[in-house]
C-alpha cells in the first residue's frame, strides 16, 4: 500500500509538478477574500504618488518606459527561507528572457499598451513554459532608487525587510515618501513602495530607512512581465 503511494508520488513529482503547485495555491489562498483586489488598490495608490512626483520633474528627460508587457499567473513561491522568488506561467516559448522587469499590475485592462504597476522583481531563470522571478524581498537583490519629490538617491538592499541605504545624511526623508526605480536596467518611475522610519546609519555617515509596502507579495496571483 505505502509502496504504491510512493510510486504514485514519484510519478507526480516528475510528471505533474503543476498539480503540487495547485494544491499549494489552494492551501495558500483557499480561504481568503479578495486579496488580489486589495493588492491592486495598494499598487494604484503607490502609482498615483509616483505620478505626483513626475509632475514636479522634467518628464521629457526621462527615457520612455516599457511599451509592452506579458501578463502571467503566479504558480508557486519559494518555500524555504533565505531566498524570495516565485514561479510564473510564461517562459522561453512566450519570449521571456532573463533580466526582464516584473510588476504588480494596477489594472487588468489587458488591451492597454503600457503596464502600470509597482516594480516587484526581475526574471532570474527561464524554463520552456515558466520562469522564476527574483523579488525585491530576496536577500541578493540590490537596486538604485530615488526617494520623494526631491529624488534623493539611495541603494535598495533586498531582504524580508528591504532597506534604503547610503542616503545622503543631509537629505530630508519623511515617512511615506514614495520610492521609485532609478536603475537604468529597469524602466524609470516605477514605484517600489514608501520610505519608513528614516534614521542615521550606525556609523553616522549616511541615513537609511525601511521600505514599506501596502500589498502582500505572498498573495499575488497576476503579474506583468515588461518587454
Amino acid at each position: 500500500m505505502l509502496l504504491s503511494l510512493i510510486i504514485i508520488l514519484i510519478f507526480l513529482v516528475f510528471l505533474k509538478p503543476d498539480l503540487g503547485w495547485k494544491i499549494r495555491g489552494f492551501i495558500n489562498r483557499g480561504l481568503e477574500g479578495d486579496v488580489e483586489g486589495m493588492n491592486r488598490l495598494a499598487a494604484e495608490n503607490e502609482n498615483l504618488k509616483v505620478q505626483l512626483v513626475l509632475l514636479d520633474q522634467v518628464k521629457e528627460q526621462i527615457p520612455e518606459s516599457s511599451s509592452g508587457y506579458i501578463s502571467a499567473f503566479v504558480f508557486t513561491y519559494y518555500p524555504f527561507s533565505l531566498k524570495d522568488k516565485f514561479l510564473i506561467d510564461v517562459g522561453t516559448n512566450q519570449q521571456i528572457k532573463i533580466g526582464q522587469p516584473v510588476v504588480l499590475p494596477i489594472n487588468k485592462k489587458l488591451d492597454s499598451k503600457n503596464a502600470e504597476g509597482i516594480l516587484i522583481g526581475r526574471i532570474s531563470t527561464v524554463f520552456d513554459n515558466s520562469a522564476l522571478v527574483q523579488t525585491i524581498f530576496d536577500k541578493d537583490w540590490n537596486l538604485k532608487v530615488k526617494i520623494g519629490k526631491k529624488g534623493e538617491p539611495s541603494l535598495l538592499k533586498g531582504g524580508s525587510t528591504p532597506k534604503l541605504t547610503v542616503i545622503n545624511k543631509e537629505a530630508k526623508i519623511a515617512d511615506g515618501d514614495v520610492v521609485y526605480n532609478a536603475d537604468p536596467n529597469f524602466p524609470f518611475f516605477y514605484a517600489l513602495g514608501e520610505a519608513a522610519d528614516p534614521k542615521f546609519s550606525s556609523d553616522q555617515v549616511f541615513k537609511e530607512a525601511d521600505l514599506s509596502f501596502a500589498y502582500d507579495l505572498s498573495r499575488i496571483t497576476i503579474v506583468y512581465v515588461l518587454k
Binding site: L2, P79, S160
Partner: protein
C-alpha cells in the same frame, strides 16, 4: 503497536504533525518576521520515530507540494536527502534518543542552510540567524511532543 484508524499510532500522529507543518509553512510563513522551515523540521524529527518507507512517503509528498520549479532544485534535493539519511543512520547512533534527536535537529538545519544557500546566509547572517534559531526551536518542540508520547516500555 496500537493502531489509530488503519494506521500505526506513530504514523498517524506523524501524518498529523506533517500536515500541520505543511500548512504552517505555506500559510503562515514568515511568522513574526522569521521564515521557519516547518516541514524540514517535521521530517527530520519524524525520521527518528517512523520507518524508512513511511519517511520516504512523507518526504515525497513534501517535495510534491513544496517544489517550486519544473526542475528539482538543490534545496529540494537536500530537503529530500537529509531526513532519508537520518532515517537510515539512526539505528547506528550511540547515545540516548533524545540526545541524538536534538543533535540531529541542529545538524539537519545547519546542513540544509550550508548546502542550499550558504552565500545568501553569509550576506545576511543576522536576519538568517533568527530564522535558523526559530527553525531549531520548532524542531525541539515537535521532537519533545513526539518523544513524550512514545511507549518505551
Amino acid at each position: 503497536m496500537r493502531k489509530i484508524f488503519w494506521f500505526e499510532k506513530n504514523f498517524f500522529l506523524g501524518l498529523l504533525g506533517f500536515f500541520a507543518a505543511l500548512i504552517l509553512q505555506i500559510k503562515f510563513n514568515p511568522l513574526f518576521g522569521l521564515k521557519i522551515n516547518f516541514v524540514l523540521m517535521a521530517l527530520v524529527v519524524l525520521a527518528l520515530f517512523l520507518d524508512f518507507f513511511e519517511v520516504i512517503f512523507l518526504e515525497l509528498f513534501g517535495v510534491f507540494v513544496l517544489n517550486w520549479q519544473p526542475n528539482l532544485s538543490t534545496e529540494t534535493i537536500i530537503f529530500f536527502l537529509l531526513p532519508a539519511a537520518i532515517s537510515l543512520i539512526k539505528k547506528f547512533l550511540p547515545g540516548q534518543i533524545w540526545f541524538n534527536g536534538l543533535l540531529l535537529i541542529i545538524l539537519g538545519v545547519l546542513g540544509f542552510y550550508y548546502f542550499s544557500s550558504l552565500g545568501s546566509f553569509l550576506k545576511n547572517w543576522p536576519e538568517a540567524f533568527g530564522g535558523i534559531i526559530a527553525t531549531i526551536g520548532f524542531g525541539f518542540m515537535i521532537f519533545f511532543s513526539f518523544y513524550s508520547i512514545q511507549d518505551y516500555n
